[in-house]
Symmetry: C2
Subunit: 328 residues, 2 copies
């Protein structure tokens, strides 16, 4: 009744941006990501007879409010699958995802929770089943089941049964790296969830965004297969710009970018003009992630560190999928 | 056979962004502008029997290459209308439009040229005829025939006969002001003409942009009529953001913005948070124009001057339409 799992966060190269069902977390388009070695969550779940409710520790601290409720509601799904309603667990979750890096720890968090929780309760889920379950905790987390490149297939069913991620290429396929550019003095005006909803509901560009995804996916998957860094980088960067353009067409319009976000984007373009292949991508916040190749690591890192408004640059390789850790 | 006309430039609040006919300069959407008192061109045209070609002076300097060819080609249109092919003119044009302010002097330039040239050759054109003629020199110039607010009606005819500007409200209607924020260290990667064409041809957002214009026009015209500054400002700013979003959806994507462009936009938002109504608009370049009301002039100006990367702030009131100057 006890299991420990480790899951890495992932960075979307083709963005998840818009829900068609808020409760089941069903997206309006397929998305594609790279799992990152440097950022992960390790979670232990132990079901214990004597408990009358779930008990959740995050980084060794007991949590009584959010995200406790969300974690417990997610365990309800697992209990229901295992026909074990009324069984409660002690959950210990440790994040190696620095908040400042601007990665959602919810991706690695819910992937690790789904893996440890389902195993602890005695379920033997396939990767597909695990991804589908994970999706209901946090949408983008469903891609973190796999290492390397993974695609979340949006599916068509109203119950979400065909909405889960599939592996595209394992991390051994290609040594592509990501620099997380940490900005100093970050203020977030619009939460990513509220911004996504406002964009879906009001942006004049939203339909065009959705319609443009299949071509981007074909392009980037061809690039991944042939290890064509230019193709992958250009497609990811263009996809990110389109996603952020949709917020400019919302009513009222808004942007997740800050001054220094813009400066980092310009710096990446300048790197390319100097012959260094590097491409940026940005999620629903001001931080920037930069894709690069191992041979350019030093120059990319040094250049980004010199940008005004940049507090830190954290490097990561491609990471592996879910792993289960033996108990001592 | 001699006439002098003065025309002011204008700033589009609903943007002209996309041509449906490159030669006749026919737009894909209506646009709406405010004519600006601070920036103008004065042009004298004199047809002289002894000339065998047009002679063009810009700011007292004889011009032999561009824009000479464009000016002479425009006089061809006037000669054709007057059935006076073979008559050539001496043209003296003086710009009070500082290049650094980022205003297209082509708007005031072609409006003044059309007015002085048509009068010098003996044509008596209505404002509608003058605007239609002016449009063929430079699209946005057709709005500079009028003072205050003017709308360029795109028209439907293939020959452009119904594509010209009409007055919406004279400058006496409302004392709205504009600060031209001059950025230091401006580098323009993509020319506005090339960028417009690339966007029309490739942007996934272009159709949505065009389809969103009628609602913006209704909104801003209602705001102008009722002197509702919030409505006019919000609509203009949102329209500008949509225009710039279309460039992010082009293939390859691009932007006219620079770091300091973004900083000025943030500063304007911060002014609003402090209770100062101010709204930005940006054309196909990095410079920013800020709309404000007379009572906030000092604070708007001081705040903008303190933004890093801002070299100068030039203020303007609403301007009048074409005027003809008596010869001494």
């Amino acid at each position: 009744m006890k299991a420990t799992a480790k899951a890495h966060t992932n960075i979307a190269l083709i963005k998840y941006w818009g829900k068609r069902d808020e409760t089941l977390i069903l997206p309006t388009n397929n998305s594609l990501s790279l799992t990152l070695d440097g950022f992960y969550t390790t979670t232990t779940v132990q079901f214990r007879e004597e408990l009358t409710e779930d008990v959740f520790f995050l980084n060794d601290e007991r949590i009584l409010d959010e995200p406790y409720r969300r974690v417990s509601a997610f365990l309800d799904l697992i209990r229901k699958m295992a026909l074990r309603e009324g069984s409660y667990a002690e959950i210990h979750s440790n994040n190696a995802v620095p908040t400042a890096a601007g990665f959602a720890s919810s991706a690695s968090g819910f992937a690790a929770l789904a893996a440890a929780g389902s195993r602890a309760i005695g379920l033997k889920l396939s990767e597909e089943e695990l991804s589908r379950l994970t999706r209901q905790g946090s949408g983008s987390a469903c891609r973190s089941i796999y290492g390397g490149f993974a695609e979340w297939q949006m599916g068509n069913e109203i119950d979400g049964s065909d909405s889960y991620a599939v592996p595209i290429a394992p991390q051994e396929h290609w040594d592509v790296r990501v620099a997380a550019v940490v900005l100093s003095d970050v203020a977030k005006d619009v939460s990513s969830r509220a911004g996504m909803k406002r964009t879906v509901d009001t942006s004049v560009f939203f339909d065009s965004w959705v319609n443009s995804i299949p071509a981007d996916l074909n392009e980037i998957k061809a690039g991944i297969m042939s290890r064509d860094f230019t193709k992958v980088g250009q497609t990811a960067e263009a996809n990110c710009l389109k996603m952020h353009a949709t917020t400019l067409g919302a009513a009222p319009p808004f942007t997740y970018w800050q001054d220094s976000t813009f400066t980092v984007m310009q710096t990446v373009r300048e790197l390319r003009q100097q012959g260094i292949p590097a491409y940026f991508t940005i999620d629903a916040g001001p931080n920037v992630k930069v894709l690069y190749l191992p041979e350019n690591e030093q120059q990319v890192q040094e250049t980004l560190r010199q940008v005004p408004g940049v507090a830190d640059v954290i490097l990561s390789r491609a990471g592996q999928g879910i792993s289960y850790l033996d108990e001592a």
